[in-house]
C-alpha cells in the first residue's frame, strides 16, 4: 500500500489529479514512495506502468529519461534490431519533444515504434519499455502537446532538480536472494558462450558449482515461464559455465579484474558459503582477507553437512579455489573465541561473522538427554559422515565409543535410525544413514507429505523414498526410552489435522490411543539449528534477534557494534546457501566502502534492489504472450536407486548439452527496467 498521486502500476487506474491530498486513493502495491531515509520519491516508472507521488513531476522529461535508461543499460540490450534502433528512436524523439523541438508527427512515430518494439523485441526490456511511455503519452497528452504546439521545453527540462535512478531486474533475479543475473547466464548457455555464462553468474554468486546443484532455487518459483507452462530449470543451467572452466583448464573466469591491494584488512569468521562469498567479493575489491575456520576443512556446512552424493567435494573445492585464487588467506583448525575477537577488532579494519548455525536443536520429548548413547545431533552426525567420505578423516576413538561405532567410520549395519525433522538437513541424515547401511531408517515428521516437499524439493523426497527411507507423517517423538543410558526405543505420538470450524488454519491434534513404541538404536534430531555465538565478547552487547541470532537491519548487515558485520545463518537463522551468499555479497559491498571511509552506505543499485524485492517483480497473474506454450521442461538423468543406494556417487548426472540448450531456449529473457525519480 503506497500513497500515490497517480498510478497505472500493474493495471490499476488511480488518478488523484486535482483531488485534495487527504482524499487520495492509495495504490495496492508496495511502491517505493520513499527512496531512502533522506529522499522522497517523485515518481516510479517501470515495465508495468508508472506511479507519480507528487503533482510536480515533469512527465515529458520522465519519459525521455526512462527511454535514455534503455540506452544506458547496454548490458542487456543491443541484441535485437527493434530494441537497438527502436530504443534510440524513442529516446531521440522524446528528448526532441522535451526540449521544445518536437512535431505532432513525432507522437505518431513514437506510437508506431512502440508497437513494433512491443510485438517483436527479443527480450522483455524491448517489449516493456514502451508500456509506461505510452501510458504517459496517453494520460498526459496535454503536457506533450503543450511542448510541441508551443515549441517550448518541458517544465523541468533545464533544471537539475531531479535524480533519475534506474535498475535492471527480472522476476528470477529479484527472487534470487543473491540476485544472480540469471537471464545473462542462461543466454551464455544458449549462445554457447560458456565463459560469459560463468562470469555472469560470478558477478554476484561465486559458488557456481554449488548453487548449480544444491540450491533450493526460489528463482524457479518466480520464473515467468511458469505462467506459460513450466519454470525454466534455472539452477542446473549454472553448471555448464562452471564445468567449462574445469574441463579446459582455463584458470578462473572472475567477473571483473581484481583491484590492487588497498591496504585494508578484514577478518572473516567461518568458511561456509557466507564466509567464502564475503571473502571473494572483498578480495576482488582489493581487500586483504583472512578467513578463520574451526574445522580442519574449508567450506562450512556445504562441506561437512551436505553429503557427497548431492554435492561432490571436488566440485565444491573448485568454488573454494576460485576464492583462494584471489589471494584470500585461509586459517583452518582455529576456533575463534572472544579474546581473539577483541584482538581482531584492533588488527583488522572490519570483521564479518559468518559462523552459521551449528547447534542441533532438541526435539523436546520426555527423557531427552544428551548423555543417552544413541542420541546424536544431526550436525555432528553429518560432520562425522562427511569428514570420512569426503576427506578420509576418520572418527576419533572417543567419538566411536560415544556413538557406539565399531569401526572408525559411520557404519550403521544392523542399526535402526530415527530422524526427526522435515528439512534438507533431515533428508541428508536419512539418506546418509541408508548409505551407511542401516537396517531401517525412519523419518518422523509432524506435518504431511506436501509440506515436506515444499520445505525441501520433490526430487529430494522421492529419491529418499526410492532409497528405502520410511516416512511417518503427522507424528512426533513423545519419549526416549533407555536402558542404562543406552537408547532402546521411542514412544511416538500420532496427530491429525483438525479443520478449524471458524475457517481458520487447521490445527494438529494428538490422536489419543494411537501412540506406539518403536525400537531404535539412534535418534537423530534434525529439527532445526541454532547459532553458537560464544565468540562474541559479552561487553560488546551485540543485539540479538528473538531467535538467538545476530541482529542487523537486513540491508547493510552491520551489527549494533560498528565495524562488526554478520551474514548467513548466524544472522538470519538456518536458511539456504543462496540466502547466505546474497547476504554476504551485500555485506562485502558495504564493508568495502566502510573500510575506506567509515561510512555505512548502500549503492543506488542496492537500494533499488531492496525496493524491487518489496514490490515483487514476478506477477503470478500476468498473461504471458510472445512465446509458444507447451514446451516441456528438461529433466536430467538420475542414477537409479540401486545404482546409488550404497555409495556416494552423485545422484544427478546434470544436463546433456542438448538438454541444456533446449532448456536455455525456453528462457524468455524477462529483463525489465525500473526507475525512480527523486
Amino acid at each position: 500500500m503506497s500513497k500515490v498521486y497517480f498510478s497505472t502500476w500493474r493495471g490499476e487506474q488511480i488518478n488523484n489529479i486535482g483531488k485534495p491530498e487527504e482524499q487520495w486513493e492509495v495504490s495496492a502495491y508496495n511502491l517505493p514512495a520513499d527512496y531512502n531515509e533522506h529522499a522522497h520519491s517523485k515518481a516510479f516508472i517501470g515495465w508495468d506502468g508508472l506511479a507519480l507521488f507528487n503533482p510536480d513531476v515533469d512527465v515529458v522529461r520522465l519519459a525521455a529519461e526512462y527511454a535514455a535508461q534503455y540506452q544506458v543499460y547496454s548490458e542487456a540490450c543491443g541484441r535485437c534490431a527493434p530494441g537497438r534502433w527502436g530504443g534510440r528512436i524513442l529516446y531521440d524523439l522524446l528528448d526532441k519533444i522535451a526540449r521544445g523541438e518536437g512535431a505532432v508527427s513525432d507522437m505518431d512515430h513514437l506510437k508506431e515504434v512502440s508497437k513494433t518494439m512491443q510485438e517483436t523485441s527479443k527480450c522483455e526490456i524491448g517489449k516493456t519499455v514502451p508500456t509506461p511511455l505510452l501510458d504517459l503519452m496517453h494520460h498526459f497528452e496535454a503536457e506533450f502537446m503543450d511542448c510541441i504546439n508551443n515549441q517550448k521545453a518541458s517544465k523541468h527540462y533545464h533544471m537539475q532538480d531531479t535524480n533519475y535512478i534506474a535498475k535492471i531486474t527480472a522476476p528470477c533475479m529479484d527472487a534470487c536472494p543473491a540476485h544472480v543475473d540469471i537471464p545473462a547466464y542462461i543466454e551464455g548457455v544458449r549462445d554457447l558462450r560458456f565463459d560469459d555464462s560463468l562470469m555472469a553468474t560470478r558477478q554476484t554468486m561465486p559458488l557456481a558449482h554449488t548453487c548449480g546443484r544444491v540450491c533450493p532455487h526460489p528463482c524457479e518459483t518466480e520464473c515467468r515461464r511458469t505462467n506459460l507452462d513450466e519454470p525454466i530449470s534455472i539452477m542446473e543451467l549454472k553448471r555448464l559455465g562452471a564445468d567449462y572452466e574445469i574441463d579446459h583448464g582455463f584458470g578462473f573466469f572472475h567477473p571483473a579484474q581484481q583491484k590492487p591491494l588497498n591496504g585494508k584488512k578484514v577478518a572473516v569468521i567461518g568458511s561456509g558459503p557466507a564466509g567464502l562469498t564475503g571473502a571473494y567479493y572483498m578480495a576482488l575489491e582489493g581487500i586483504d582477507v583472512d578467513v578463520y575456520e574451526e574445522l580442519p576443512v574449508l567450506g562450512g556446512e556445504v562441506a561437512v553437512g551436505v553429503p557427497e552424493y548431492r554435492m561432490p567435494i571436488d566440485r565444491y573445492n573448485q568454488d573454494i579455489k576460485a576464492v583462494r585464487d584471489l589471494g584470500v588467506t585461509f586459517i583452518t583448525n582455529t576456533r575463534v573465541d572472544a579474546d581473539m575477537m577483541r584482538q581482531f577488532e584492533s588488527d583488522y579494519d572490519a570483521i564479518l561473522v559468518a559462523t552459521g548455525t551449528r547447534i542441533s536443536k532438541k526435539v523436546y520429548c520426555e527423557n531427552e538427554r544428551a548423555d543417552i548413547q544413541g542420541y546424536w545431533g544431526a550436525i555432528d552426525f553429518l560432520d562425522k559422515v562427511n569428514l570420512e567420505v569426503k576427506y578420509g578423516i576418520m572418527v576419533p576413538e572417543v567419538d566411536q565409543k560415544k556413538h557406539m561405532l565399531e569401526k572408525d567410520y559411520v557404519d550403521l549395519t544392523g542399526k535402526t535410525v530415527v530422524c526427526v525433522g522435515g528439512g534438507f538437513t533431515s533428508m541428508d541424515v536419512v539418506r546418509c544413514s541408508i548409505r551407511a547401511n542401516a537396517k531401517k531408517v525412519v523419518m518422523i515428521y509432524r506435518r504431511d507429505e506436501k509440506t515436506i516437499i515444499n520445505n525441501t524439493t520433490y526430487e529430494e523426497y522421492h529419491e529418499a523414498v526410492e532409497e528405502g527411507v520410511e516416512f511417518i507423517f503427522h507424528s512426533a517423538v513423545a519419549e526416549m526410552r533407555d536402558e542404562n543410558n543406552v537408547l532402546k526405543s521411542l514412544l511416538i505420538d500420532r496427530f491429525e489435522l483438525v479443520p478449524d470450524p471458524n475457517g481458520g488454519r487447521p490445527t494438529l491434534e494428538k490422536i489419543e490411543g494411537a501412540s506406539f513404541e518403536m525400537e531404535c538404536d539412534y535418534l537423530i534430531p534434525a529439527v532445526s539449528q541454532s547459532a553458537d555465538l560464544k565468540l562474541i565478547p559479552e561487553e560488546w552487547e551485540i543485539e540479538r534477534t528473538s531467535w538467538g541470532t545476530i541482529k542487523t537491519n537486513g540491508k547493510d548487515y552491520m551489527t549494533s557494534r560498528k565495524g562488526i558485520f554478520a551474514a548467513g545463518d548466524c544472522e538470519y537463522g538456518p536458511m539456504t546457501i543462496v540466502n547466505a551468499v546474497g547476504q554476504a555479497k551485500r555485506a562485502s559491498s558495504v564493508i568495502s566502502r566502510y573500510v575506506q571511509d567509515g561510512q555505512i552506505v548502500l549503492l543506488d543499485n542496492e537500494i533499488m534492489e531492496d525496493h524491487l524485492r518489496r514490490l515483487k517483480v514476478y506477477n503470478k497473474k500476468e498473461k504471458v504472450t510472445g512465446w509458444l506454450p507447451g514446451l516441456p521442461r528438461e529433466h536430467s538423468e538420475v542414477l537409479t536407486a540401486d545404482e546409488r543406494k550404497y555409495n556416494n556417487k552423485e545422484v544427478k548426472y546434470g544436463f546433456t548439452q542438448e538438454q541444456a540448450i533446449s532448456e536455455a531456449e525456453r528462457c524468455m529473457r524477462c529483463y525489465y527496467i525500473a526507475m525512480v525519480a527523486h
Partner: protein, 749 residues
C-alpha cells in the same frame, strides 16, 4: 514427429526442429537477416516472427519448436507491418554507399529493403561517428554493421577462435575483438563470408570489383585432405587488356559449409606458361628414359590414373611415400575390419559427443577436422581427448583432456587406448589374450601416458553415445603404423566408434586408390611430377616443364571422407599438361577429364563422366558434391602383432608441422597468407640446443641441411621444436615420420 500446419497446409517437424526449419523444408519462405543454419539462432533480427493460434502475440520462428496441432500463419497484414517497420529501422542511418560497397548486389539488407519496398527513411535517430577497423586481412566498418551476430556465432561455435564478441551498448553496439585490442585469430575469414552486409570485408578484395562482374567457378580446395567446397570468383584485370583474368576472391557456401583462411585467402598460386615445345620434348624424352616417376598427392585422380597408365605402358615405378604410407595403413586396417574404408567422416566428428584424437597437430594439419571438433564441443558438449607429444593452445577451448606421450610411442599408446576402450567388448579369446598380456607398466612408463589418464578417458566416455576416434597423420608414417591401424580397426568394430583417418594432402586417398605405388629407392633417372626429381614437371615457374596448378585443373579428388569431389579451372592455362605428355607417349585421350569415368571400380569409384558429377549444395544443405566411394568388402586376414619396443627420441627433436593457414609450396606462393617459416621452440628447447630467440640456425636432419631463424615461443612447452615444411621445394610433411632427431647449430643472429 510433430504435425502442425503452416498457412493451413499440413507440415511435419522432427523433434528439435524449429518452425523456421520445418517451413523451409516444406518450401515456405520466411524472411530472416540473422539466421545461419549451422549455428544456434542469433535471434536478433526478429524478421522471422510468425502468428500462431495458441498465443495472441507474434512468435519467433527461428528458435521456437512447433507443438502438436499448432496452426502457423506466415503472412498477414500485421506481420507485414511489423516486418516492414523492422526493415525501416535497419535502414535508419545506414550509409548510402551501395555504389562502392563490396556487398552491393549480394547484400541481404539491400535485398530486404527492396522486398519490403522501403524507399525513404521513415524514422530518424542521431547519426554517430564511427571508425573503420583494420584487422589485417579483415576490415570492419561498424556503420554498415547491422549487428546480426552471425560472425560472432560462427567464430565461437564452428571455428573455435572465439576471437570476436559483441560490445553491448544499444545503438552504439559493435563487433569488437574479444579480450584484445587487435583481432587475434586464425584468419579463416568465415566472419566475412557470413556477414550479410558490407561490414566485414576482405581487405585485399575491398573496392576491387562488384559482385555481378565476377564469374563463379565452383571447385574443391586443394590445400588439405578435408576437400572443402569453394568458389573462385574470377574477372579480367582491366578492360584494356581484355582477356587477362585473375582470381579476385574465394567465397563459400557458408550456410552449410566452412572454409579456413588458406582456402579463402590462399588462392593465387596459379601459374601460367606458353606452349614451350622444347621443354615439352625434353619432358617426353625424360619420361621415356625414366626409371620412375616421383609425384605428390596434390594432383587429381585423373592425373594419378594417367601416371598409373604410364607406369603400365612404360614399365616405370611410381614413387609417392606419403600416399604409400596411407595405402599400407589402410591395407592393415582392412585386414582386420574387412572393409576398404573406415566409417567416419567430418560430419560424424561434428555429431559426436566424444572424440579422441591420436597423433597429429590436427588444428593446423586439417582445419576441417578442427571445425568439426569445435562444432561437437560447443553444440554437443563433446568430451575431446587430445593425445599428442605437444599441447596445442589453438585447441584449448575444445579439448577436455590432453594426454601427452613421448614422441615415437604411438603404438604403445594406441594399445593402451584400445585396451581401455575395449574393456567390456565382446572380443575373441585370442584378441582378449593379446590385451591381457600387454606389459602396461612398460608401456605407460615408456610412453609417459599414465594409467590414470586412461582411467580418466574411460570415465569421461562412460555415458557417451556417438564416439569418434581420429587418427592423425603422425601415425601414418610411424614405423609401426600397420599395427596401429589394426588396433584402430578393433576399436571401430568392437567399441562402437567411428574411425576417421586424416591423411595430409588433398588427394592422398585418391592416389592411394588409383596408383600401384613402389617403395622410393632414391635412385637416379627419376622424373618428378610436382615432386623432386632429375627432371621436374610441376606447377611452378621454375620447373623444367610447367604444368597447371590445382586451381587450373579440371578433374576430381577423393577427400578424407572417401568422397569423390570435382574441381574446376579457375584460370585457363596456355601451356602443356600431363595429358599432353601422355598422349605424346602413346596414351590416347583428348582431355584429362576423359579419365574420370575410367577410375577403377574395383576401388569403389563409379563409372560417371566428369560432366555428370554434381558440385553444389542443395537449397537445404544437401551435399550434391560428387559421390561417396563404395566401401568394399575385403578378406579379414590380419592379426595383431606384439607391440614393438618403444623407440626413444632423446636429444634435439623437431616436429614437422606448419603454422596456421600454411600447408605446402602452393600456399607458400600466395600473396595474402603470412609466411612465418621460423623454427619455433620453448625456452627449454632453446636452452638444450644452446640457441636464443632470433638466432639463425643450421638444422641437419637425415642428410638435409636447412637454414632457419629460431623463435622462442612462450606458448610452447617441452623439448620438441616445431619445424615448418611448407616453404621447402615440393617438400611433403609426411614422407617420413614427423618427429625427427636433428643436429642444430647457431650460425648467427
Amino acid at each position: 514427429m510433430i504435425n502442425f500446419t503452416i498457412n493451413n497446409q499440413p507440415v511435419t517437424a522432427t523433434k528439435g526442429e524449429t518452425i523456421l526449419q520445418a517451413a523451409r523444408k516444406a518450401g515456405f519462405y520466411i524472411p530472416t537477416m540473422c539466421y545461419l543454419e549451422k549455428t544456434t539462432p542469433c535471434a536478433s533480427c526478429r524478421l522471422c516472427v510468425v502468428e500462431v493460434n495458441t498465443t495472441d502475440s507474434l512468435v519467433l520462428s527461428c528458435q521456437t519448436q512447433p507443438t502438436q496441432g499448432l496452426e502457423v500463419t506466415l503472412d498477414s497484414e500485421r506481420l507485414q507491418r511489423e516486418r516492414t517497420n523492422i526493415m525501416r529501422m535497419y535502414d535508419v542511418n545506414h550509409p548510402l554507399e551501395c555504389g562502392v560497397c563490396d556487398k552491393s548486389g549480394a547484400c541481404d539488407l539491400q535485398n530486404k529493403t527492396l522486398e519490403f519496398n522501403i524507399d525513404s527513411q521513415h524514422f530518424t535517430a542521431k547519426e554517430q561517428p564511427r571508425k573503420t577497423e583494420r584487422w589485417g586481412l579483415i576490415n570492419y566498418d561498424p556503420s554498415l554493421c547491422i549487428l546480426c551476430e552471425k560472425c560472432v556465432h560462427v567464430c565461437n561455435e564452428i571455428i573455435g577462435d572465439d576471437a570476436i564478441t559483441l560490445q553491448f551498448g544499444g545503438y552504439k553496439s559493435a563487433v569488437i575483438p574479444k579480450n584484445s585490442d587487435k583481432l587475434d585469430c586464425t584468419f579463416c575469414g568465415e566472419c566475412i563470408a557470413v556477414c550479410p552486409v558490407g561490414a566485414l570485408v576482405s581487405s585485399d578484395f575491398q573496392y576491387q570489383a562488384n559482385t555481378w562482374e565476377l564469374s563463379p567457378v565452383p571447385a574443391t580446395c586443394a590445400h588439405c585432405s578435408a576437400g572443402c567446397s569453394l568458389t573462385y570468383e574470377v574477372k579480367h584485370t582491366s578492360i584494356a587488356t581484355g582477356n587477362e583474368e585473375r582470381i579476385y576472391r574465394v567465397t563459400n557456401n557458408f550456410e552449410y559449409a566452412t572454409l579456413c583462411g588458406a582456402g579463402r585467402f590462399g588462392f593465387d598460386y596459379d601459374v601460367q606458361a606458353s606452349k614451350d615445345t622444347v621443354a615439352f620434348e625434353k619432358a617426353v624424352s625424360a619420361l621415356r628414359n625414366a626409371k620412375a616417376i616421383r609425384f605428390s598427392s596434390i594432383i587429381t585422380n585423373e592425373e594419378a590414373l594417367i601416371l598409373q597408365n604410364l607406369k603400365e605402358k612404360l614399365g616405370l615405378k611410381l614413387f609417392n611415400e606419403e600416399a604409400r604410407a596411407y595405402q599400407m595403413f589402410m591395407q592393415a586396417y582392412a585386414s582386420i575390419s574387412g572393409k576398404s574404408a573406415s566409417s567416419g567422416t567430418l560430419d560424424a566428428i561434428a555429431q559426436s559427443d566424444a572424440i579422441i584424437v591420436l597423433g597429429g597437430r590436427i588444428a593446423t594439419d586439417n582445419p576441417g577436422v578442427r571445425y568439426a571438433m569445435t562444432t561437437a564441443a560447443r553444440h554437443n558438449g563433446a568430451k575431446i581427448i587430445y593425445m599428442h607429444p605437444l599441447e596445442d593452445t589453438l585447441l584449448q577451448n575444445v579439448v577436455t583432456q590432453f594426454v601427452k606421450y613421448e614422441a615415437g610411442s604411438e603404438e604403445g599408446v594406441m594399445a593402451m587406448l584400445a585396451k581401455t576402450l575395449l574393456a567390456d567388448a565382446d572380443l575373441s579369446d585370442e584378441i582378449r589374450e593379446f590385451f591381457n598380456e600387454l606389459d602396461e607398466g612398460y608401456l605407460c612408463a615408456e610412453s609417459n601416458a599414465g594409467d590414470e589418464e586412461f582411467a580418466r578417458i574411460e570415465k569421461s566416455l562412460r555415458r557417451m553415445k556417438r564416439k569418434t576416434l581420429i587418427i592423425g597423420s603422425d601415425v601414418l608414417t610411424h614405423e609401426r603404423a600397420q599395427n596401429i591401424a589394426r588396433l584402430a580397426a578393433l576399436v571401430e568394430a568392437y567399441a562402437d566408434f567411428s574411425l576417421v583417418i586424416v591423411p595430409v594432402n588433398v588427394n592422398t586417398v585418391g592416389v592411394s586408390l588409383v596408383c600401384d605405388l613402389d617403395q622410393d629407392e632414391n635412385s637416379a633417372e627419376v622424373v618428378g611430377y610436382n615432386a623432386n626429381g632429375d627432371f621436374v614437371i610441376g606447377a611452378m615457374c621454375e620447373s623444367d616443364l610447367t604444368v597447371p596448378a590445382m586451381n587450373g585443373q579440371e578433374g576430381t579428388v577423393v577427400s578424407m571422407n572417401h568422397q569423390l569431389l570435382p574441381t574446376n579451372v579457375a584460370i585457363g592455362f596456355e601451356g602443356y599438361c600431363l595429358n599432353d605428355l601422355a598422349n605424346a607417349l602413346g596414351l590416347r585421350r583428348l582431355n584429362t577429364i576423359d579419365y574420370t569415368a575410367q577410375l577403377p571400380k574395383t576401388k569403389g569409384f563409379k563409372a560417371i563422366a566428369f560432366d555428370k558429377v554434381g558440385n553444389f549444395y542443395g537449397a537445404l544443405g544437401e551435399d550434391n558434391r560428387g559421390y561417396r566411394l563404395e566401401t568394399l568388402d575385403v578378406p579379414v586376414n590380419g592379426a595383431l602383432e606384439e607391440i614393438a619396443e618403444l623407440p626413444e627420441f632423446n636429444g634435439t627433436v623437431v616436429y614437422r608441422c606448419n603454422p596456421v593457414n600454411q600447408f605446402n609450396i602452393y600456399t607458400a606462393h600466395t600473396t595474402q597468407l603470412e609466411r612465418d617459416a621460423a623454427l619455433r621452440g620453448s625456452a627449454q628447447f632453446a636452452a638444450a640446443a644452446r640457441i636464443g630467440n632470433g638466432d639463425r640456425v643450421e638444422v641437419q636432419s637425415n642428410g638435409n641441411i636447412e637454414m632457419r631463424t629460431f623463435v622462442l615461443d612462450e606458448s610452447l612447452k617441452g623439448t620438441i621444436a616445431l619445424s615448418p615444411t611448407f616453404d621447402e621445394k615440393f617438400g611433403a610433411m609426411n614422407e617420413r615420420y614427423r618427429f625427427e632427431k636433428i643436429k642444430i647449430m647457431r650460425v648467427g643472429s
